[in-house]
Symmetry: C2
Subunit: 338 residues, 2 copies
DNA sequence: GAGCGGCTCTATAACGTTATACAGGTGATG
DNA sequence: CATCACCTGTATAACGTTATAGAGCCGCTC
């Protein structure tokens, strides 16, 4: 604690600036002096004071990934990838928990936090296009997920309408006709649900199936408990569904639980599909059919885009990138176990 | 971006230092000047440059929580609590992923990371007492979990031997006699498993049951996949167990999956108990009986201890704190659903 | 009324780094 | 041989904050 450039400079018999140049490679340094300096660094065990560097350079080397819940495995899996990618690019990634709270999201957009991080990857839930547009100019911002569209920021997400289509097509293909959706939200609160609901409706229409509003269950948030409660309500209908498409895997897993408690067989009585491909769904009983986004691609792309913006690199191509997804058939829709 | 103390000082017609004193409350400021300064701050929208502040103060306001895997829900749930507690104390908590890698853990102990964080909460997995003792003096370190004992650092954990006792007593109480353990590790790699295995053995002995080495399954790490594989192996024994105690909930959930695939009923044929009380176990089919550590207590205590050390506060009481736990009976050991 | 102590406020030197301007030395060129 | 350009290295001024030393002012005491 406390070996600084000056100590190294003294030890190596060179100036402060030369040591800085060796460390940073900012200006050419003769081979002999470089070696002497490097030796001094190794002997004294120097590592730069990042606070000072930050002050001077105006960058902290910190980027933040703000998600609505840390405990959602999808975000944990995404974070693990993003942290590794950030480290590879020389940045430290800080996790930020908005707890799906509007105030927290707004604070992130223009709060004082901004001064300590170089850029932000945000998965918005409670804020919309207007709030993002109203944001004062500042650090680069990359959006992930489906909260906000049509803003002048990089945006990485899957094509949610297409993902819903794929899920519903699959359910139709295995003979289901009364397909429910769990995870709609009231109002314009969370656009993601809107897109997934839209895909659901479009695909029903394309299959010649009627749209039944009673089969669309609303939830406040998107956890296991929400899925379980919604499924119970659906089962209480006079004419319950023969398939369920959940907003995400957690909701779907909650639905599986409700079905088990009520004594229904999956997939024989009710088939279930989710979105996210969290590991949990590969071990649930039954295993969960899901739409698997390419988390690796999303995490890496988001970090790379952000870092590119921070470093002022030229970024070509459109702001919005739709990453690939695929349908993984598992037991909850009647595919043999892996 | 860029309103600084000087701007405020000019606007308010006072000196730089006075503004700093208003912001920090470090020295008394007259009521009239305080108001004038405060007004200037509000008008210009000032927020302190944390980099500069930290350079000057020598602290960054960042603490790190290093865990072996972000995707283990136990750590995610713990992190959510710790982040909130840190924020309440004016600190930002950074998640660090050691990926259960020895090199990563060592790097955290004395690496350059140290210079950017004020303190570290570490859940050690691959390092032992010696490595911690060999650590150069530096930032405060708080240990959580069961990796390392008898070192001059704060340590927050449950009593693992007692936790195992409780689990085994419960299984014995519901009439099980061939009780397996999944999650032992070879050598002294991870002491936690040793403690849990020890409690398992002691409790068997206390119940007058024989210790059968074949019923103790080793795993590399402690994920669902490890639990599933180990359970398959146990089922392949000529005389399979009638109960399984998993190192943690993830392992136990993997075991549940293997049992389902093999067509065994839980709890009728095999009862299952885990440790951690992750949310997943409250929704699995069947729901999972578990030893629930007080995560809130662990997370808050770890952060508070660390911050107290950072701020040089007098900390009374022993270094090692054992936090409470309780047994939650659920379906996997034959308790009626909640 | 001179001296003293308490109260506000100010000037300024750090903290450790990087970027800019500049100095010294060397080799090549006219 | 003088000039120039280059290549290395140096001195130094920031970056924005906080802590220290001290200056000015007021009222009080002897």
């Amino acid at each position: 604690m406390g070996v600084n450039l000056k100590d190294i400079a003294q030890r190596a018999g060179v100036s402060l600036a030369t040591v800085s140049n060796v460390v940073n490679g900012y200006r050419p340094v003769g081979e002999r002096t470089r070696q002497r300096v490097q030796q001094a660094i190794d002997e004294l065990g120097y590592s730069p004071n990042l606070g000072a560097r930050h002050l001077r350079r105006g960058r902290t080397g910190l980027i933040a990934l703000a998600v609505p819940e840390l405990t959602n495995p999808y975000f944990a899996e995404l974070a693990e990838i993003a942290i590794a990618e950030a480290a590879a690019l020389g940045y430290t990634l800080v996790m930020e928990n908005t707890a799906a709270d509007r105030g927290a999201e707004l604070a992130l957009l223009d709060g004082s936090r901004q001064r300590i991080i170089d850029g932000l990857i945000l998965s918005p839930v409670r804020i919309g296009r207007e709030e993002v547009l109203a944001r004062p100019a500042g650090n680069p911002l990359v959006l992930i997920g489906e909260g906000v569209y049509d803003v002048p920021h990089d945006h990485i997400a899957i094509d949610n309408v297409a993902a819903s289509h794929a899920a519903i097509r699959h359910l139709v293909a295995i003979g289901r006709r009364r397909i429910a959706f769990i995870g709609a939200t009231p109002g314009g609160d969370r656009q993601s649900a809107h897109l997934r609901v839209r895909g659901y409706r479009e695909a029903l229409a394309a299959a010649g199936l009627p749209y039944r509003p009673r089969l669309v269950a609303r939830t406040d948030v998107f956890g296991r408990l929400d899925g379980m409660r919604a499924m119970r309500d659906l089962l209480a209908l006079g004419d319950p569904p023969d398939a369920v498409f959940g907003y995400n895997d957690l909701v779907a897993i909650g639905a599986l639980r409700a079905l088990a408690e009520a004594g229904h067989r999956v997939p024989e009585d009710v088939a279930v599909v989710g979105i996210d491909d969290i590991e949990e769904g590969r071990f649930s009983v039954p295993t969960l059919t899901t739409i698997a986004p390419d988390k690796r691609e999303i995490g890496r792309l988001a970090v790379r885009r952000l870092v590119a913006r921070i470093e002022g690199a030229e970024v070509t191509g459109p702001l919005t990138v739709q990453t690939p997804f695929r349908l993984l058939r598992r037991e909850s829709t009647g595919t043999p176990a892996a």
